[in-house]
Symmetry: C2
């Protein structure tokens, strides 16, 4: 299993390429929740999300032979751009399979990082099938978005930096979708701050991780209907094992609670945060009455949100 | 006239109360403009704008007798909240005259900082008249939003911090409305980096400062029709004199250029910036071909924008 040393090693690998993102605070929010909150702002990370950490940590460990084969992922989210950029930095060919209804802004961003985009139908089955065909044909190396120990160790470097900067913390909140960020966060936190509690936060409308954690089996994520599009996936066996071992609890939040938290981050802290990135704050706000005067870390996972509609109406 | 020592003194006065806001960079924007850009993020300042610096510097210098009388301003913008907070910190009564069509979010924010809000009709005449009546009745001290040397010196502390952190700069860009920020910025810049050029940037649709600077007379701002609501005012005699002395040029930008710059800041830098706050970047983008490889400071003046419409449509 991944341990704290793996996270230190990942940090050494990525530190010249990923950004050490700022830890920000807000006296307004501190007053609201009556504790001291340290926001780790991964919306400022390269490609706009923590995903770059795991992608770079993974790709940089490929063998020479694997690098020559090239990498592939099927993703319409932040993993696509993260892998594209990581591969580009290391001079490796990247192919991303994306549903043909993906927003052009995401397609262009992925291409902008130098990856080849191959379109598929708008279903998970088609994504997997098209990726498998390409792997068979070209022998590409598949990079999973979360169920990979290298991805987990890379994701954990965000909490490592948070704790190095904020020092002692009593709680750390992170969102949970596939569990890469939460599992990495839990290992880093328990390794550096053994007494801190690690809380995963999940949308109520996609609560498979909450139920999996409670019942000890991985449930599939069936028709998740949440604005937090980064958190619709289910746990993998690797992330689930770590989460069962190190995470203290998983709480769920409503869609309204997610949007309210997001609004606080935009209006009060002037941070552009995507819905998935605000979920951890929503969890903190929910547990507010238990956190008096504590030192709390909150991981803001990303800031990629389509603002076309907003800006097209401004003039 | 205000000099660099006044800005140092202002900085000493405000530094335990105002935030030393972060200087941020973006490799994406650096590549776009082919120079090194240092953004001074006053959207992270208290009350969400640089205005707090000047307001606090001014109020903290009032005599005991003036403090007892209380302060007043007529403003629907960031100066209202800045003065309210500065007065509240110093235990001084503040009264703000606001048009009765002001957004409730601004009224509530101003009240939240402990000020009394008095409504007037929706015209400049009514604002001035109601304020004058209140001054006559209660002997309040009027705090002008920009045409005051203490406000100018306070505003200049943002550039002081920018240059202390970014060190040598070749250009500094700041927006110009009433000229408080631009005049303070120009004094700080010429005091610390005498070879740097100071560029004021103004909306084309409110180009009174551009024309005043060109012709050497203060023109009124007549029916300015710009999204940059913080830049609709005209220069004052104090700010005009400083700008003529220290500013190298004033450039104008279109409404589309303002929105494009704002969109870059939101999408690429994940910063919530108000239209007035993006105007300085719009000016930089416009002068882009002249700035090859230079070190450029850009003051992001504020981040207060009404997001009610955006968030009400999210769910």
């Amino acid at each position: 299993m991944v341990d704290i040393q793996d996270i230190y090693d990942a940090h050494t690998r990525i530190r010249d390429y990923a950004l050490w993102t700022p830890v920000m605070t807000s006296s307004t929010i501190d007053k609201m929740v009556n504790c001291q909150v340290f926001f780790k702002c991964e919306n400022f990370q390269r490609v706009g999300a923590f995903k770059f950490r795991g992608a770079f940590n993974t790709v940089s460990q490929l063998t020479k032979e694997e690098r020559e084969r090239g990498v592939i992922a099927h993703s319409s989210g932040n993993h696509a751009q993260a892998l594209a950029l990581a591969a580009s930095i290391l001079g490796i060919k990247a192919t991303i399979v994306m549903p043909k209804n993906s927003p052009m802004v995401k397609v262009n961003a992925t291409r902008g990082y130098g990856a080849e985009v191959v379109f598929c139908e708008n279903s998970t089955e088609s994504r997997v099938q098209v990726a498998n065909e390409l792997i068979k044909e070209h022998n590409y190396v598949l990079i999973h978005p979360y169920n990979d120990e290298r991805i987990v160790a890379g994701a954990g470097t965000a909490a490592l930096e948070l704790i190095e900067e904020a020092e002692e913390l009593d709680y750390v909140f992170a969102p949970v979708g596939g569990g890469g960020l939460l599992s990495g966060t839990s290992i880093a936190t328990k390794g550096l701050c053994p007494d801190a509690s690690v809380i995963g936060v999940e949308p109520k409308n996609a609560d498979d991780a909450f139920r999996s954690f409670r019942d000890g089996v991985i449930y599939p994520s069936v028709k998740p209907n949440t604005i937090a599009d980064g958190l619709r996936t289910q746990l993998g066996d690797i992330t689930f094992r770590i989460i069962r071992e190190y995470v203290d609890s998983i709480v769920t939040v409503s869609e309204k609670e997610i949007v309210d938290a997001m609004r606080l981050l935009w209006e009060r802290m002037k941070l552009v945060v995507e819905p998935s990135g605000a979920v951890s704050l929503a969890g903190l706000l929910k547990m507010n009455d238990k956190l008096n005067d504590r030192r709390v870390g909150v991981i803001i996972s990303g800031g990629n949100i389509d603002l076309t509609g907003f800006f097209s109406k401004l003039l």
